[in-house]
Symmetry: C2
Subunit: 256 residues, 2 copies
DNA sequence: CGATCTTTGTGCACGCGTTCACAAAGACAT
DNA sequence: ATGTCTTTGTGAACGCGTGCACAAAGATCG
């Protein structure tokens, strides 16, 4: 209960690396699965495999939380589940509002992963009067006029934006003004927020584009492997462009 | 960010740093917006602001692609749009299959951001016989028995998994066996794939948990300001606005 | 044509995150 | 107790990404 920092070297006291924080939920999920199978303890090697990471990395990550393992044995599953949950702040209830109840907003409202981790959908908000009153995932959608009141009444500090990009910034501003200090943004827009407000973005299109890049690279290497290695395929007469892969300039058609 | 990599590319991604690749879609979006406003050229400073990054970082990123700018002037918007599109492989058509047509799968099928960037939903696949034949986003859902044929017939190399976690690995295995080499995974599971297959994961629950951590930290610091405890006060300026960011694509899914 | 002004491209230093490798710590057997 | 065996926790090295600061390159003007 008291804050997590019981006794920690002052030198490194509060600083859990961001990269570590991002992996804690991963460990937590693996540990929860083990817990459900009533596994009492787990070694860093086993847990790392389950979480899909390197065991040394996992041990170092845990070392930032404290010494919760037992040498020669491993980690106590239940204890670790609790410690990580507490560190992440999941031992408390986090009311969340979702703004923009379209396909994606509805999908999120129905997503079971939220409730199971201490997150509670406090309200669904949409600007369309037609949507207000409708039931989505068992929750009545409310009009955005109510936004400020809802946030205030429920002590909401986390907001999820699933609106069209054009209105995302305005929605963001209203959320922040009403007291929200953490935002999960699904709209493809750059949100600017004051200091002290955290924004995380999830962009479906960008993920696909990154995959496309690697996919193209793979195709390029494949083609290159069919050629005598070393020399650049002479068949490709490229202009000044550095020394790109063997992909030709395909269609030069870009929407203007 | 949501990234899941199983294995390191071993071979350098054509020399372009992974971090740079992840930002290219961001620049592309900003550039596309400028293009639509018929802006002819843009400086690294302006573009960086629009993309929500540091201008030095942007210039360094572009330097990996080649020298596409003009000193004293800036970058030619149209030319840069084309170069980045080509680098990302967006000048070609990428057929994509979505497996698991639940709330999230349907939301993705309706997502406009895909089509606008060279991605085409080639098929929607679901294991439920009840779903087969239904129309989602104007596309007829097909039964998973057809998976292999669909992938083969359409030359699909990118698959999106939006199934329940329990069947994600099996679906993944079938996709890979059928020829898919890039996977975007929305299921909260660690997928194991053979070398040469890229996996990126988007985990909604994890993003919220990371926000909860920072939220709790903020609340803790606030309370700590009244505490005599160790000296950890000034470190509040830590702000890691790593991703103030933006990224997004043009169209959204939401119904207006 | 030369001076000045703007903006790119990049060498360099720094800090974070990852990985290795091993000493320390505890369990367990004798 | 003592020795052996297992596994953690971490010091140290390394590599990647970031940001600074500036020289080089080109535009523009007189």
């Amino acid at each position: 209960m008291a804050t997590g920092r019981t006794h920690r070297p002052a030198t490194r006291s509060r600083g859990i690396p961001e990269a570590t924080v991002a992996r804690l939920p991963l460990y937590l999920r693996a540990l929860t699965a083990l817990s459900e199978r009533s596994v009492p303890t787990v070694s860093s090697e086993e847990l790392a495999a389950a979480a899909g990471v390197n065991s040394a990395k996992l041990r170092k990550d845990f070392s930032y939380l404290g010494s919760y393992g037992t040498r020669g044995v491993g980690y106590d599953v239940e204890y670790l589940v609790y410690q990580i949950s507490r560190e992440l702040g999941l031992t408390q209830d986090w009311p969340v509002v979702i703004v923009g109840i379209g396909n994606l907003g509805a999908a999120l409202a129905n997503y079971g992963g939220f409730a199971s981790r201490g997150f509670r959908v406090a309200a669904l908000i949409d600007a369309d009067p037609e949507m207000a009153g409708k039931q989505v995932a068992g929750i009545t959608v409310q009009h955005s006029d109510e936004m400020e009141r809802i946030i205030s009444d429920n002590g909401v500090s986390i907001g999820v934006i699933t609106t069209p990009p054009g209105v995302a910034q305005q929605v963001c501003d209203r959320l922040v003004a009403a007291g929200v200090t953490s935002i999960l943004n699904f709209a493809p827009t750059v949100l600017s927020v004051p200091d002290g407000v955290d924004v995380r973005k999830v962009d479906l299109s960008i993920e696909l584009q990154i995959l496309a890049f690697h996919e193209q690279r793979k195709a390029g290497e494949e083609a290159a492997n069919a050629l005598p290695d070393g020399a650049v395929p002479a068949s490709v007469t490229r202009k000044e462009s550095a020394d790109k892969g063997p992909d030709g300039d395909v269609p030069a058609v870009m929407p203007a």
